[in-house]
Amino acid sequence: MAKKSYSFYPGCSSQKAASASNYQVSVDAMCQELDIELNEIPDWNCCSASIGYAGGGELPRLALSARNMALSEQAHPDQDIVATCAACWLATRETQERLGEDDELLAETNQALAEAGLKLKNDKKIRHMVEVLIEDIGYEELGKHVKKPLEGLKIAGYVGCQTNRPFGIHGESFENPKYLDKMIETVGAEACNDYEKKVSCCGGALAFSEPEKSQALIKDILESAYDNGADMIVTPCPVCQMNTEVYQDQINAKYGTKFKMPVVYYSTLLSVAYGKSAKECGLDGQVIRARQLEEIAGK
């Protein structure tokens, strides 16, 4: 297959030494194998995620995403924008939709952008990395690159909210999206087909501000994976990943549970299956080590 190039919006959590830096590491390894070129949007800014509303009104928030889109139009005119973070993807896509529907709002946004010397046409596609894998590469091709099938592993595909609603992945349902399960099978592992908490919310950003209330949600997500016999959880979202991984000790202390469930990204699974080293797959970024994956990567 020919090289595919995209205008890439990494987002704050994917930066070096930030909470999802290991996501980026595995994405890089995966893209290298699949001949996907990610061109970082020059001087991109934070999208204000889903909680910018306390400080910023509608237009300032739209302007933040619009700046990234305008910079992308300038630097990579013929490339779709691709994000790896669910919240970044969502915020950018929502901006595109809202500005596309409302000429007045687009005009005002452009007035604001002019202060930064920019202009937005708003004609780009905004895509999640998962869409690139499914739509532009395809499961079959994804499978062809597998060198080390993840045999014997049972994995719960935790889709969460924002990669699923309100836009979701084309052709999937809100209640039971199958793409993570299909990816799990593509790399030779077994998917937990009846994972009840697949699309439940982990609390998102409220895991910081309302830790107890959110941890009650997270506990159910972990428990359901555990009850389904999962060895680990896989997710497409950096917030989901962090929330379900790093609070397990606190949850265990509060509820008397004994969770020690690794939570990895789809890109971790793919890069391990593609024969990359533990380091290239970002496995050293696991707060709860994914030992089974380390073993496969070490072979």
């Binding site: 999802a20 237009l59 000790d249």
Partner: protein, 207 residues
């Protein structure tokens, strides 16, 4: 109570639906609600909402202005989009909740000790300073947002989480010295200022 709030009370004289339509993000959708209750059953933190979304929509029509705007309910929204996916009338409920929260904050009516309101403001301040979020500073100000004593307690409780992130290089103390940022912070800030001005002018024109 702020002057702005007084101004708005006088301007709309007991027609809160009209006030919401003119001042709240996606507020003109509120009248489309048919009170089926599906949204209220969808919120992940539902049991903690004093007034779930459906009730908020009903209260808007019933002019329960203060009750809504001073409520912590909207601040319990996790942005899970369950409601939007399910609402038979297609209301952008998530955005209306965010919009009500923004508006309550502007009017000075948002509850003062609401943790998400405080955290979200910290997040915004953090990102507008450099264009990108500095997770370490954000985390620290989060732990200390309720004062020094409380902060130490929270920080101790979160110590093991922090250590795990440090060890796996998913957090760095170097962020304290500046860390990630945009090059054109000046342009970004000028853009935001302009956007604020335009939004204020537009809201003033309406209603």
């Amino acid at each position: 109570m702020s002057d702005y709030n007084q101004q708005m009370i006088e301007k709309y004289r007991g027609n809160f639906l009209k006030e919401v339509e003119a001042n709240v993000e996606e507020g003109d959708w509120v009248k489309m609600c048919m009170q089926c209750g599906v949204c209220s059953g969808s919120c992940p933190l539902g049991p903690h909402w004093e007034h779930p979304p459906q009730e908020i929509f009903m209260m808007i029509r019933a002019n329960k202005r203060e009750d809504i705007l001073s409520s912590s309910s909207m601040w319990m929204c996790t942005s899970c989009y369950n409601c939007i996916a399910r609402c038979p009338r297609g209301l952008p409920i998530t955005h209306i909740m965010h919009g009500l929260a923004t508006y309550a904050k502007r009017l000075g009516l948002a509850p003062k000790e609401q943790p998400t309101a405080k955290f979200a403001q910290l997040f915004w301040d953090n990102l507008t300073k450099t264009g990108r979020v500095n997770e370490l500073k954000l985390g620290l100000s989060l732990y200390f947002m309720n004062g020094f004593g409380e902060g130490i307690k929270t920080a101790l409780k979160m110590k093991d989480v922090g250590l795990g992130m440090l060890k796996t290089k998913r957090m760095t103390p170097m962020e304290m010295l500046g860390g990630h940022k945009c090059k054109d912070v000046k342009g970004l800030q000028a853009m935001l200022k302009k956007a604020e001005e335009l939004e204020e002018a537009r809201i003033g024109k309406r209603g």
